[in-house]
């Protein structure tokens, strides 16, 4: 079977109703995929202020117009919904193999609504769809679930997108995972799936995704495999993944340490790439059709902390959030904590940051040791992580409070105004300090789905005339370096463009690690891939316009949920100076300049500076008149 279809599958779990719609090709090209396909549907069909964990919420599991073709760095499945963690538009991308398989089975996206009366999973094979009973899988961790499903379906190559016990139990930062190691993290979309009693979406597609110009696709893949991976950023990713960032930040003085009170971790060397390679890492794996193969895997034979490589290995964000943030440096504990989070499908950034908040609250005397269920939740105590993860997943004792994230816990104790709460729109900040990269701060503040580190490439790739963003990114329209510490108009403009660019990357299901300036593949090859796969004579301008539509639609989604410009902010701690290391006594972001930058960005976007609303003329210009009238 040959296919490149973008059929949308609808599943109403409340009444087991299944139907298929064929979207207009003009819609597919206008919105490309991912959040582009999800947002119009959510805005039309999801009532404002819907409880994210109610049957009325809608979960959109999407691919894009190019998914499934054998191009490099384009494996991603994009899940969108209303987030239970933030209450805002929720979106998350994961690599792996699931999205191409769905395309090979004949579908472009699945919209899931309602709530099944008991646990179920959806089984899709080459265009046929079935809802199957999953009571026997409920409560199982991800590895067992995948094994049982493959065995009972007699399909060893079925791709399983699933939740673990964290999603079943409504942990507000529960993940969705495919192939046990590729996560739709952040935003808690696993809890949305759990609230629908949906354990998994399993797919097997034996079709072949057709492309308009297969030779061109092959040529780009070959270039990536031969030349792209030899480029410095590609080679670092392939050899070490993201973990070398530990030493870079440590030496610069901006490694998030002790709940962001320090920029240098005294035992940082123990969590460096070198030491993790010596102790826990084995050879990496990759995603569908991608030669970069950057995915870490950890294996530990040690009886106390035995770690199975099927569940991947900790990347930089996890090592930061569970390691330096908590002052835990034992690689074996970190590998085990990561494995447990992956078995239960739990977001390691939000988990680590919420535990970090608890540790500081304990230190400041806001939480007593008795309230910690007898656990010693203090900085540096790595041993506490394992029992604490179990408590969070089972929502027992203090685990119940940690399972709801740091913002809710702080609100409960009246501590939300304190400087040690580090979240934006309810989502805990990831492991990049905006005090050395102000554009990252703008991303954290403005991201429609809360603080996130992959909204746009980071400032450092545009820092000098030799930087990859300047040397290789001229197609993006940035020709002059921009100081990583600046908050002037040139920085706001840069991040306006880069937000568009990575929104495009996300909606097409591309991996941000694949393309210039973060990865090795030139921007023009991205456009060539879209042309070669779809046969459409697209330009970068057209693609950027598609991305721009989604930023405005996500904004409209959040405004109707009650978000205001006051929510586009940074945690207080980033306006304070560093307390130790090479940056001691400096670094605090100028709050006034930051606010001015946010306002300038509103104006560049065509948003009312007072209300944050997209102006009708901008929406009409983007062909979004329908939403201008409702806005």
């Amino acid at each position: 079977m040959k296919t490149n279809e973008n059929k949308f599958l609808f599943v109403d779990l409340s009444n087991s109703k299944i139907w298929i719609e064929e979207p207009d090709p003009v819609f597919c090209r206008t919105f490309l995929g991912g959040r582009g396909w999800a947002l119009p549907y959510l805005l039309r069909n999801l009532k404002p202020k819907t409880d994210p964990l109610s049957p009325e919420n809608i979960l959109a599991v999407t691919t894009s117009v190019i998914s499934g073709a054998r191009g490099p760095a384009m494996p991603r499945v994009i899940v969108c919904s209303k987030s239970p963690l933030t209450g805002a538009f929720g979106e998350s991308e994961a690599g792996g193999f699931w999205a191409p398989e769905l395309k090979k089975a004949g579908f472009g996206a699945i919209f899931i609504m309602g709530k099944a009366p008991g646990p179920v999973y959806i089984w899709i094979k080459d265009g046929s769809v079935e809802i199957k009973e999953a009571g026997h899988l409920w409560g199982l961790e991800t590895g067992e679930t995948q094994d049982i499903i493959r065995k009972e379906l007699k399909e060893s190559r079925a791709r399983v997108l699933q939740i673990g016990p964290a999603g079943e139990n409504g942990v507000l930062y529960a993940n969705i995972v495919n192939e046990l190691a590729h996560f739709n993290g952040r935003n808690g979309l696993g809890a949305v799936m759990g609230s629908k009693n949906l354990k998994a979406v399993v797919v097997r597609g034996t079709g072949e995704v057709t492309t308009s110009d297969p030779e061109k696709v092959k040529e780009i893949n070959t270039w990536t495999a031969k030349e792209g991976i030899e480029k410095p950023l590609g080679e670092i990713l392939r050899r070490h993944g993201t973990i070398p960032l530990v030493r870079t930040f440590q030496e610069v003085g901006a490694l998030p340490t002790r709940n962001w009170t320090r920029g240098v971790f005294s035992r940082g060397e123990e969590i460096s790439a070198e030491n993790l390679h010596k102790t826990i890492y084995i050879e990496p794996k990759g995603c569908f059709s991608c030669p970069i193969r950057c995915k870490r895997r950890a294996k530990v034979e040690n009886e106390k902390f035995k770690v199975d490589p099927r569940f991947g290995g900790p990347e930089y964000e996890t090592i930061g959030a569970l390691g330096s943030i908590l002052e835990v440096s034992d690689p074996y504990i970190l590998a085990k904590a990561n494995e447990l989070c992956n078995r239960y499908a739990l977001d390691t950034i939000s988990l680590g940051m919420t535990i970090g908040w608890v540790m500081e609250a304990v230190e400041r005397g806001h939480i007593s040791k008795e309230e910690c269920d007898g656990l010693d939740i203090t900085f540096g105590n790595g041993e506490v992580l394992i029992p604490l993860i179990e408590k969070v997943v089972k929502r027992q004792g203090i685990g119940e409070k940690i399972a709801r994230g740091s913002k809710r816990f702080a609100q409960e104790l009246g501590l939300e105004e304190e400087d040690f709460l580090l979240e934006v729109k309810g989502q805990e900040v990831p492991m990049h300090d905006p005090r050395i990269k102000t554009g990252v701060g703008l991303q954290y503040a403005l991201s429609d789905y809360g603080a996130d580190h992959i909204v746009a490439p980071h400032d450092t790739v545009f820092a000098t005339k030799d930087s990859p963003g300047i040397k290789e990114g001229s197609m993006l329209g940035v020709f002059e370096p921009v100081d990583p510490l600046s908050l002037g108009p040139e920085k706001v403009r840069l991040f306006y463009y880069m937000d568009l660019y990575w929104s495009l990357v996300d909606m097409l299901g591309f991996c941000t690690f694949g393309f210039v300036p973060r990865g090795p593949i030139p921007v023009e090859m991205m456009v060539d891939l879209v042309k070669a796969i779809t046969g459409w004579p697209v330009s970068l301008w057209e693609l950027f316009k598609a991305a721009e539509r989604t930023i405005h639609l996500a904004r409209i989604f959040n405004l109707r949920e009650g978000f205001t410009p006051d929510d586009d902010r940074l945690p207080k701690r980033f306006f304070q100076n560093f307390n130790n290391g090479p940056l001691e006594g400096k670094g605090g972001i100028d709050e006034e300049k930051f606010q001015q930058a946010i306002h300038l960005r509103y104006k560049m976007m065509g948003w009312d500076p007072e209300t944050g609303k997209p102006l009708p003329e901008r929406l009409y210009e983007l062909g979004l008149g329908e939403f201008a009238e409702k806005n």
């Binding site: 480029k231 990713l237 960032l245 870079t248 930040f249 980071h458 030799d466 990859p468």
Partner: protein, 104 residues
């Protein structure tokens, strides 16, 4: 009888003089020894010490190092702090070369 073009002869002598001046200046130039801490984790490790012209600025120094892609693809530290391109190097200075602090 050989005709002497005085103008040409003067230009020739001036060129020789200028060349000699440059050579003498180069010989007089002092060199500095800069320590390199290569922590890129990829490619052939750079030497631990490199000679350079006294007064060289960090930007020029980095551009002359055999770094694939060029210095913009790495995080460069000068004596443990984020490097400033215009800063002059001195003997004993240490240059740290680490992966770029990108997202991920």
């Amino acid at each position: 009888m050989v005709k002497i073009n005085f103008l040409q002869d003067w230009k020739r002598k001036k060129r020789i003089f200028e060349k000699r001046e440059v050579l003498e200046k180069q010989m007089e130039e002092k060199q500095i020894l800069v320590k390199i801490r290569d922590q890129r984790g990829i490619g052939e490790k750079l030497p631990e010490e490199v000679k350079a012209r006294e007064g060289i600025e960090l930007g020029e120094f980095m551009e002359n190092l055999p770094l694939p892609g060029g210095p913009g693809y790495y995080t460069i530290l000068h004596n443990g702090k984020i490097a400033e391109r215009g800063k002059k190097l001195e003997t004993g200075d240490e240059i740290g070369i680490l992966p770029l602090s990108v997202g991920g």
